[in-house]
């Protein structure tokens, strides 16, 4: 099956899992489909920091919510609520795996190609402009911010004149855009 069709099938299964009550079945199907095409995507699911909050919520909320049916650490605990919560964790896993699959299997050029297919003209060229100008803008922002900080040592001045810093950055960005526009116009490059 073609790559884009496969992605469309995966997206459809995921969307169905949002609307239909069979979260485990559809989630399992999604994971199986991804495992068939790209098993490594199942492991690239973010760090501990990303999963800490959902895991704590899933494990601790049955102390507060749901009908308690047993005691854990001498406190009332709801196993039915834990089962419900596990489906949230499963859903989050499916979501991150789907994102990981997309990230691993689509290069920037392919994503730009998808954009062109969707009607966004010259996406590849615009992506190149964005990446090149981002490098230039990054240097400009650092330099502007340094000058701003050097000329305003007091914190109150820094806060008071924030619009000047923003204005300078935006003005420099506009100048960069103007330079590129002129260059493209002279070279007769159509966008």
């Amino acid at each position: 099956m073609a790559k884009n069709t496969y992605l469309a099938v995966l997206a459809a299964v995921f969307l169905l899992s949002l609307c239909l009550p069979w979260a485990w079945t559809l989630g399992g199907l999604l994971v199986a489909l991804i495992a068939f095409k790209d098993p490594a995507a199942l492991r690239k699911i973010g760090g501990l920091g990303f999963w800490a909050f959902p895991t704590l919520f899933v494990l601790l909320s049955p102390f507060m919510a749901g009908e308690p049916d047993r005691a854990v650490l001498t406190l009332p605990y709801s196993m039915p609520q834990l089962r419900i919560n596990m489906s949230f964790l499963m859903h989050a896993y499916c979501f991150t795996v789907l994102m990981s699959y997309f990230g691993r299997n689509y290069t920037l050029a392919e994503t730009a190609g998808l954009g062109e297919k969707l009607g966004l003209k010259k996406t590849g060229l615009k992506t190149a402009i964005a990446l090149c100008s981002a490098k230039k803008l990054r240097r400009m922002i650092i330099e502007t911010a340094r000058t701003y900080a050097r000329t305003r040592p007091a914190k109150t001045d820094k806060a008071k004149d924030l619009h000047i810093l923003l204005g300078a950055i935006i003005r420099n960005t506009a100048l960069t855009a103007e330079e590129i526009s002129v260059l493209f116009y002279i070279r007769k490059i159509e966008l």
Partner: protein, 197 residues
């Protein structure tokens, strides 16, 4: 402006370069705010984004320009560090659509800018619901409410305490929106003064 080749080039390049500026802000400030778990980080970033969108629109006052600027920022967001980027990308997209609608209707006057920035900062509220629904599925809000109810009972708080928390949450976003709106109007005034004397 758009009817001549120079205008077309200018529109494409300005939207792309300003989108790159927003993308950079999202990449660096966003990643840092996320790493330190800063409160209201969505609204903080949205405010910067809205200022960039409003100022860009003054350079290319054409319908659709704001939308294209946002698309470039989304593209760059996908290149930033971190594993899951769909939530901030969805936030940028929603903010872009809101800004495009308001700036197309009201223009880049004081009212248009003020409303765009305020709406962008308040966007964090629907964004929270959309991303939680996408991430955890349909039942998550019921679980949140059940936990809040359980905590109210545990701490002996009145039944409607959650409303106070929601109100604080809304007030925080609105306060940031006000600060950013003032900043946006002052920045545009400064730019106008610099560019036109």
């Amino acid at each position: 402006m758009i009817n001549n080749p120079a205008g077309k080039i200018r529109l494409a390049v300005y939207t792309t370069v300003f989108g790159a500026l927003w993308g950079l802000a999202e990449m660096f400030i966003g990643s840092w705010l996320h790493a330190v778990n800063f409160p209201f980080r969505g609204a903080l970033l949205a405010g910067f984004g809205a200022i960039i969108l409003c100022t860009e629109r003054t350079y290319t006052p054409i319908r659709g320009a704001t939308f294209y600027t946002g698309l470039v920022a989304i593209l760059l967001k996908f290149l930033s560090i971190g594993s899951v980027k769909i939530a901030p990308a969805a936030g940028i997209f929603i903010e872009t659509v809101i800004a495009e609608a308001i700036l197309s209707a009201l223009g880049t006057g004081k009212a248009g800018v003020w409303l765009t920035v305020m709406a962008a900062c308040l966007e964090g509220i629907p964004h929270f619901f959309v991303t939680n629904w996408l991430m955890y599925g349909t039942g998550i809000f019921g679980a949140y409410l059940a936990v809040v109810k359980g905590m109210q009972e545990f701490f002996g708080l009145p039944g409607n305490s959650w409303k106070f928390i929601v109100l604080l949450w809304l007030a925080g976003h609105a306060a940031l929106g006000t600060v950013y709106s003032v900043l946006a109007v002052r920045t545009l005034k400064y730019l106008e003064h610099r560019d036109h004397g």
